[in-house]
């Protein structure tokens, strides 16, 4: 028996999905289209392998190799810091924290996730960057590391909430049986929950990585925005911050303007590659 409501719902679901996917594809095409104008003038290979970015010089030099590296570097540092902390925290939450306190802690973590990046940026500049200058005697604390740490704090909530859901389900399903054999919670978490949530963790990592790579305002405040070869303790530039910094000023329709879109397109391509990689990782985990 299929009611009219059913039919309408199914229809709506399909239409809305189609609409969403078309809309998203449209955005992607839009970015590609704006970037494509640029690629007609500057070959894509030169764009991503050249190291000089100087939109005001004459002739303009518009290549973003350093900036791609900077983007990846900052995000990797962020994930390397945030992933272990996030996983650890999620494990503790699923194994040791009862229903209600957990809900409250999750709420707290959600709140951290909601703090606007402008605020993170300023705190980063006033606290983190200054700390580097004071504690390590750097001339300037703006660095890949500062950006990485700040981003780590920002993506941590995403990692925790993604992992926690998976882990909680696993823990609930298997802990009674294992505990009945006298096995400690720690061991259950370590040998069942952790390995079985690898898929979830991989997904969380990619999600967080995407967030980190796309983050603009906060990163912009603490990395120095210098389009040079990134070093852990040196300044760097990332694609989103490049776009945000220069888009407001770039003359519409100029080569510079299209170059910024091209950079956005490169960012998206990186994410796509990452997701394809995740897909294969997941598949090999399934075996």
């Amino acid at each position: 028996m299929k009611t009219a409501f059913d039919k309408v719902s199914v229809f709506l679901v399909k239409v809305l999905t189609l609409f969403s996917l078309l809309l998203l594809s449209f955005i992607i095409i839009f970015i590609f289209k704006e970037g494509y104008t640029f690629f007609k003038e500057v070959p894509i290979l030169k764009f991503i392998t050249g190291t000089t970015w100087n939109p005001t010089g004459d002739p303009k030099k518009l290549s973003i190799f350093n900036i791609i590296l900077g983007t990846l570097y900052v995000s990797i540092v962020a994930i390397v810091i945030a992933l272990p902390i996030g996983i650890g925290c999620a494990l503790l939450l699923s194994g040791y924290v009862k229903e209600r306190p957990r809900l409250i802690i999750r709420g707290f973590i959600d709140i951290i996730a909601g703090i606007p990046s402008v605020i993170f940026g300023f705190i980063g500049l006033m606290v983190l960057v200054k700390f580097f200058e004071k504690a390590f005697g750097f001339a300037s604390g703006e660095s890949v590391l500062a950006g990485g740490i700040l981003l780590a704090i920002m993506v941590l909530p995403y990692i925790i909430s993604t992992c926690d859901e998976t882990m909680d389900k696993l823990y609930r399903a298997y802990s009674p049986v294992a505990q009945a054999m006298g096995i400690s919670k720690i061991y259950i978490l370590r040998t069942i929950v952790l390995p079985q949530s690898l898929r979830g963790i991989a997904a969380a990592a990619v999600l967080a990585f995407g967030r980190a790579m796309g983050e603009t305002m906060a990163v912009m405040m603490v990395i120095g925005n210098a389009p040079i070869m990134p070093k852990l303790l040196g300044k760097c530039q990332t694609i989103p911050s490049l776009i945000a910094l220069e888009m407001g000023m770039a003359e519409v329709g100029s080569l510079h303007y299209h170059a910024l879109f091209a950079a956005g397109f490169v960012l998206m391509a990186i994410l796509l590659i990452l997701n394809i990689a995740l897909y294969y990782v997941k598949r090999s985990l399934d075996r």
Binding site: P55, M126, V129, A139, S140, N225, A226, M247, G248
Partner: protein
Amino acid sequence: TSQGADVQTNSNKENETNNEFKAEMTFNGSSTLAPVITAIATEFIEENTTWDKVDSSFPDKYISIYVSAGGSGAGVKAVIEGTADFGMLAREVKSEELEKIGDAKVYKLGVDALTISINPENPLAQLRDNLTTEEVKKIFAGEYKYWDELDSSLPHREIVVVIRDLSGGAHEVFQKSVMGDTQIRPDAIQSPSMGALVTKIIENKDAIGYASYGMVNQNKGKLMPLKVDGVEPTEQTIVDGSYKISRPLIVVKRGELTAPQKAFMDVVMSEKGAEVIEEMGFVPVK
């Protein structure tokens, strides 16, 4: 359905600009200028509320003036695409841009100077209050990497150069009036805003950067502006052009002003507008 209705009213408005009264106007562009226009607009609205109070020939519609900030480039873009009535710029309008706008009207409201500022705790502050253009150039180009290269009595500490983003209005002015063909050192810190640049100088003893004259006035004592070639950045020197590193604050518009627009722009260009501009720390054009 509400979406459709809105589009409707909106396009209606577009069609009616010529013959019917438009109670609304929009500004978009430079975030330096945006607070100035906003301040004037708020006062204007508070004083009059409805248009008929401004001029009795106007209908009694509520005054709406919206100001948004997306950067100078976005301001020009908005005018070209017709999404804003006015564009605000903190730099000169380029000729290509004028061409694209077509029938462009340009209003110069004031001037903002860039001061070469350092942290007051920097030993240089005790030593001298002046740099030559040549020295500024060498510092920003990275030829001087340590303070003791500038003057041997200074400590051997790295110079931290803070600039605005390379393609921004402020930087363009600096590049043109100081650097010429010389490139800025690539590892200079690019601050995303004047506020961040000033904060950086306030927070870091070794920092040097070009802070906006307005910002220096707002943060008196927290950072120290230096003379360049012996010329101190003051209202006087900025207006008469003897202090070189400055940029204009401009509003552009396509086509003639409508009556209400004119009424508002008159206030902006008046003595009262100048007061606000001055209060914000910029130098009004007399």
